[in-house]
């Protein structure tokens, strides 16, 4: 809309008059903005939780490798014959095939051998620690985005020769060798075997996920890794592998990679077993799904309170218009056109709503800040959200101010002047 100088000037005057009216009705204005304040506050807090939450989850999952996927036998087979069959359904021959490049969607693969039977006490000079041992291959660290603070990874011949080597998490090191600067080359006993420490895994952040679950034994920083072949012989497992962990060439290909591996396993074992796969992409999807749910509930709550707030403003504006009927008549008598009156009241309504929105924004940001501190979230002050909040409150102002303002604009001067 183009305005000439006169119109612009009249508009400024009208804004001025609207502000004046708000100043004069402070208490009423304060009461009527509450709904909008609460609504905008809800928008901001929900926005922070869902955005911050998704950032936290994403970044923590990222440290575990976003392209990861796991394949393992599904023991809950529908077919009772299959379900009772013994074995993990995955062995070293399967691994060999996959390692030799059968599956185009896979870039890396590692076997993982776990044991529920062997839950060993690891022992060093009278210090004990109970820990979960995993037998792994040379790609395990890479797939899991793990770095070593010192030492080296397993080599190919460590695996083929079933060497008694061990890589430990930094917390294990802290527990067993609290005062020792370097533990590389030191030995640990698991059962009757002596293992030589060749590497220490760098700590991983687990603030958020650990606050959800996972006990200390399964703690990511207390892992103990040995060559899977060594573990197999310790357990007498005869080349059985508990699960396969792979890295797909891209996040999008994770599902395809899982299917490729499953197909190979099915062929090898003549469909004797049923397999299940999980992908990191799936976890991210699930987490986002939950966050979206939270957002939707929050947005519904915010909308309800914005609608209530809008109705409050409409109510207050209608009252204000009726109260000022004579004034409107007078303004019209001295030359106010319909739009002058319309704008005056809509602007008043927008201001009231915006004050509410602004307060909601401030309270919402403070609330978000508090949540960020309490839940150790990264605080993400997003301009987007602030703009959405302010635009929404202006929108509420226009919508709820329109009807009363229209009513004022359409008043006949004679009738309005006679009103008492």
């Amino acid at each position: 809309m183009l305005m000439n100088k006169d119109q612009l000037f009249i508009t400024l005057e009208i804004i001025n008059q609207s502000l004046q009216s708000i100043r004069e009705n402070r208490l009423r204005t304060t009461l009527s903005i509450l709904g909008v304040t609460i609504g905008i506050m809800a928008v901001i807090i929900v926005g922070t939780i869902s955005q911050g939450g998704s950032k936290v989850i994403f970044s923590e999952l990222q440290t575990f490798g976003l392209k990861s996927l796991w394949i393992f036998r599904d023991h809950n087979d529908d077919d009772p014959n299959k379900a009772t069959r013994i074995g993990t359904g995955i062995n070293n021959y399967d691994l060999n095939i996959i390692e030799n490049g059968c599956c185009r969607s896979i870039s890396l693969i590692t076997p993982i051998v776990n044991s529920s039977k062997l839950s060993p006490y690891i022992n060093k000079n009278g210090n004990f620690s109970k820990s979960a041992i995993s037998g792994v291959g040379i790609n395990y660290l890479r797939i899991n985005n793990d770095k070593l603070t010192s030492g080296r990874n397993f080599r190919k011949d460590d695996i083929t020769k079933n060497r008694n080597l061990i890589i430990i998490g930094s917390e294990i090191k802290q527990k067993l060798f609290p005062n020792q600067a370097s533990v590389l080359g030191s030995t640990l006993r698991i059962e009757s075997r002596k293992f030589t420490i060749i590497g220490i895994i760098k700590n991983k952040s687990r603030d958020f996920l650990s606050s959800i679950g996972s006990n200390s034994e399964e703690d990511i920083n207390s892992r103990i890794l040995i060559p899977y072949t060594t573990f197999q012989s310790m357990l007498g497992l005869k080349k059985e592998i508990s699960l396969l962990q792979a890295e797909s060439v891209s996040i999008e290909n994770a599902k395809k990679a899982a299917t490729e591996i499953t197909n190979i396993l099915d062929r090898h074992h003549s469909n004797k077993f049923k397999y299940r796969s999980e992908t990191m992409a799936q976890y991210i999807e699930t987490a986002n799904h939950i966050l979206r749910g939270v957002s939707v509930i929050g947005i519904i709550a915010a909308s309800v309170s914005l609608i209530v707030g809008g109705m409050g403003i409409m109510n207050i504006m209608t009252t204000s218009v009726i109260e000022r009927t004579r004034e409107i008549g007078l303004r019209k008598a001295v030359g106010a056109q319909e739009n002058h009156i319309l704008y005056q009241f809509i602007i008043e309504s927008i201001f009231i709503s915006s004050i509410g929105g602004f307060l909601g924004l401030i309270i919402g940001l403070l609330g978000s800040f508090l949540i960020a501190i309490l839940a150790s979230f990264p605080l993400t002050p997003s301009w987007e959200m602030i703009v959405i909040a302010l635009v929404t409150s202006i929108f509420v102002g226009v919508i709820s101010g329109y009807y009363p303002a229209m009513r004022a604009a359409k008043m006949q001067p004679v009738t309005a002047l006679r009103y008492d």
Partner: protein, 225 residues
């Protein structure tokens, strides 16, 4: 110049339409001071509202300063009022929250006059009605006579050619009423057209022409020299 020709105006009450003005013709020349009189229900206020472009007639034609009012939209009427007409009401109709000076500036705002000029003009107008020292007072801090003087200053804000006054002394004591009429007399001398409704003979006698209405018809139109 005001020219009403065969004006008809009725009000609807329920199913019936009650005629308020019927076939009324009237010409008021520039610079005339006219008093319209009549008992309540005679149609004098309706006539005044039509002349003041606050209301429109159902039939007939109305020409004001060579502009035909008949087909004018609400906004067009507002523009005409802003340009040609100043209003003085019985109840003063000042906006209570703002100062007398701001009240006087109100018509100028809608006429698009900038704030500097508005201030200058409003101070001059306050001087003209003898209220220079009351410029920051709100209406609650002014006496009835003072409020009506502010209202007159407001009516003059856009230098209208016509002043419409609806019982301007109706809410005032005699002394204040006389002060107001002195201002009207002065305005008359400045060649402003003044159309005033009153039911007091004393007040009507300030005018040079008295029109009496009964049942929507002019029954008497006398000029006093």
């Amino acid at each position: 110049m005001i020219n009403l020709d065969n004006i008809y105006k009725s009000y609807h009450s329920g199913e019936n339409s009650v005629p308020v003005l019927s076939n009324l013709s009237l010409t008021i020349e520039t610079g005339e001071f006219v008093a319209i009189m009549g008992s309540s229900g005679s149609g004098k206020s309706t006539l005044l509202n039509i002349i003041g472009c606050l209301d429109t007639c159902d039939q007939g034609s109305y020409t004001l300063e060579n502009t035909s009012i008949n087909q004018a939209s609400n906004d067009k009427l507002a523009q005409i009022r802003s340009k040609y007409i100043g209003f003085v009401f019985q109840s003063f109709s000042l906006i209570p929250r703002i100062s007398s000076q701001k009240n006087i500036e109100l018509p100028m705002i809608y006429a698009g006059i900038n704030s500097k000029d508005r201030q200058k003009k409003s101070i001059k107008l306050l001087e003209q009605v003898g209220l220079t020292d009351r410029r920051h007072h709100s209406s609650a801090q002014l006496s009835g006579g003072q409020q009506q003087r502010v209202a007159i200053a407001r009516a003059l804000a856009n230098q209208p050619s016509i002043i419409i006054a609806d019982e301007p002394t109706g809410s005032l004591d005699t002394v204040s009423g006389l002060e107001i009429m002195d201002i009207f007399t002065a305005l008359h001398k400045q060649n402003k057209t003044i159309v005033m409704v009153t039911h007091e003979d004393d007040i009507a006698n300030y005018a040079q022409r008295i029109i009496k209405l009964r049942d929507g018809v002019i029954i008497e139109d006398t000029s006093v020299c």
